[in-house]
Point group: C2
Chain length 433, copies 2
């Protein structure tokens, strides 16, 4: 929520600036202070009262404190104030402690007062010079947000030769090109050898090519480290049940922990299946239903794929939206991922800007779509969109992938003229059924 | 295209005004002249050169002129200049003459220089006082467009007790409420008894309740008549093949005209199946494929439902987007329509504004979703959304309806957090599978 809230105002403003007749009305600039206030309102000023009320309505007890496993079906809770106590579960314990930013072992980084995603999304002031280590979703969204909100210099230092590495190549390239145009620098194939924070608050990074050549120094007022995630499993007593603290927890499709007996479940980031809020919620639904079904004897052994007790979509139908400008939305497999999985696939490409409805949305609309078709089953196994506003386009693809709707039936799913959804018609035409 | 082009700039501007931090940058007003110029560019200044080039690339011959049937498989063409000639079809003739505005028999209307949809979307000046007879899609979109572009008074005169009569009740009501707030008047259950155009250009309407009481006069500078459509079949020689000129042409699912022999087809508005551009294009694909398949002997008799030769979606999966503010998008059956069709259905309602992603899109987002579930087949047979930007939300529902994806599978189609598409999660939760 907070990252999207930081990004939305700029997105709305650019959308208006992209349409003749509307752009003439936009004579001012974004009000960064208002955006930060708006962001705070969406995060309920970082309080959880709303969630607590929801728990109460559902008659779910809340025990506040640090929890850790204490052997089979037992959890010890250490409250901030008051004595420690232990809960015993009749049936199951679900661990949902999530993940945290993983800090790479760069000399000086611990004392650099670097932001992680948490601080970057909750900050109350705009850094003038903003340096980011990393090129994934967090790095890109935060670069976009703070540049829009007023950062004069934004620099991404990326080890790989591209950004948004888990998406189709063209998606990372579209965001990179937009960044270049908007004054956000991206340095590829660079390592960071040292971080130094001066008393003035200034941060300097010693950066070089991966082989150590071409050393340079990058100066900023704030550093964000966004190089990946680590599981929050180091202080939850995994050792008391024979598991290794600090490791990701492997689970089956009902989210039951492998090697954790028949009572330990893990839903969310820490099972490393799909590190996304919506997939964590999805896993939690399957996990909760599986626990109850096993207690009732309605589920024995492994759950059937696509049943209510299995998080089957984790394998082949994970949607993700990157709220940069352009947006990136994707579900299922990339072309490379499908090939690596041994599928016989065909990639179908189309420029979204050539769809009538897209030209109406924005003058000179630029965007791209790629559909991955499983040629043996004649179903869609992947879709990626880039372009303004494509975030809500992807769900139609998710329904098609999950529903395994055959291509010849999809021809009958007529998109409305003139919406951007007519990209579906063009992709099917290009496939040439 | 032209109506959407008239509406888009206002929509983009309102979207920016709806987001704190962005709205502060909008200090001017819409540039109507720029909007009209932009509209003209989208309609290629009302020339068809682009389409003609496409025909050439496809090696399709174009005969320009007035065409009319001249007996079986024969079409006589009367060019604007040059002599009349006759074409003979080896296999089939497809009639695609579309529809035109139907003008109700109101005294004085013929001499009122009233606009139809054609003039309303192509006009070059903003009428100060704009009066509309009708309450359907054309009436509502044009009221919205010209009010946004500067009309000071806009009044709809509607016979029914609601607008957008083919949609769920709440959709018409949402648009009406928005119109009221934005200074567009809607008069319900009114008949127009006479239209008078003064030498000054001023138009006056004598209006009354349906029983003739409560007579009043409405004055405007321009009148739009948008009370429905009539088929363009009166001057195409239908009499030469035993059909009635001026009637809608009944067709089977391959668009073959009933009572027209085995060679006459009709695709688009004039077959009265679904009067929408995208459905006409859809019918044309089925029709063209069916003609070829019959010639090749690959299709005999009626086509199978959902095959490439049948416009099956016409019956149960017609999507439509109304580009008013709020937008309305819908596919399949309304609740009333499903009940009338004898289905055992359940309607599931949810406020879109309660979805996190919607609140991010616009402060105080207001919108509504209704899902119609066939309780016997456990599939979605209808969906309606209202709210800003819901036009591209509907395609996911179209895929679900056409793909007949069971509800318990749809749970695995996870919407991305925090997009507006999370309305799907809420609808499924509310259904309570």
């Amino acid at each position: 929520m907070p990252s999207k809230a930081l990004l939305r105002s700029g997105q709305a403003l650019r959308a208006a600036l992209g349409v003749d007749g509307a752009k003439q009305a936009v004579t001012g600039t974004i009000d960064s202070a208002a955006v930060l206030r708006r962001r705070d309102s969406f995060t309920s000023h970082w309080k959880d009262d709303g969630q607590v009320r929801w728990l109460e309505r559902q008659h779910i007890d809340l025990a506040r404190g640090k929890g850790r496993l204490a052997g089979e079906r037992r959890v010890t809770v250490t409250p901030q104030d008051g004595p420690e106590f232990t809960l015993s579960a009749r049936h199951a314990v679900a661990v949902c402690t999530g993940s945290r930013a993983s800090i790479p072992p760069i000399p000086g980084i611990e004392s650099a007062q670097a932001w992680t995603s948490r601080e970057a999304t909750s900050a109350q002031a705009v850094p003038r010079r903003f340096v980011i280590i990393g090129g994934g979703v967090v790095a890109c969204e935060m670069a976009d947000a703070w540049r829009t909100l007023g950062s004069e210099e934004v620099t991404l230092v990326v080890r790989e030769d591209r950004i948004l590495g888990n998406t189709e190549d063209f998606a990372g390239e579209a965001v990179r090109a937009s960044f270049e145009q908007r004054g956000i620098s991206v340095l590829f194939k660079k390592r960071t050898d040292r971080v130094t924070r001066a008393a003035s608050g200034e941060v300097s990074l010693d950066v070089a090519d991966l082989d150590g050549s071409n050393q340079m120094t990058i100066i900023g007022d704030q550093l964000l480290v966004a190089t990946g995630r680590a599981p929050r499993t180091d202080e939850i007593g995994l050792d008391t049940v024979g598991l290794r603290p600090g490791a990701w927890l492997s689970v089956d499709d009902s989210c039951r922990v492998e090697g954790g007996g028949d009572w330990l479940y893990a839903a969310g980031d820490l099972n490393h299946r799909a590190l996304l809020t919506h997939m964590g919620k999805y896993q939690a639904r399957a996990c909760g239903d599986a626990i109850v079904a096993r207690v009732r004897g309605e589920l024995t052994g492994d759950p059937s794929p696509w049943s209510a007790y299995a998080a089957t979509a984790d394998h082949a139908a994970v949607p993700q939206v990157v709220f940069t400008d352009p947006e990136v939305s994707a579900v299922g497999l990339t072309h490379a991922g499908a090939v690596a999985a041994g599928l016989r696939v065909r990639a179908v490409d189309y420029e979204i800007g050539d769809v009538s409805g897209a030209g109406l949305i924005a003058d000179g609309y630029t965007g791209h779509a790629r559909m991955i078709v499983d040629e043996d089953r004649k179903v869609i196994v992947g879709m990626t969109f880039t372009g303004p506003g494509v975030g809500d386009l992807i769900h139609a693809a998710t329904v098609a992938v999950v529903g395994e709707v055959p291509l010849d039936r999809l021809w009958h799913a007529v998109p409305s003229y003139p919406t951007v959804s007519e990209i579906w018609l063009r992709l099917l035409e290009t496939y040439g059924l």
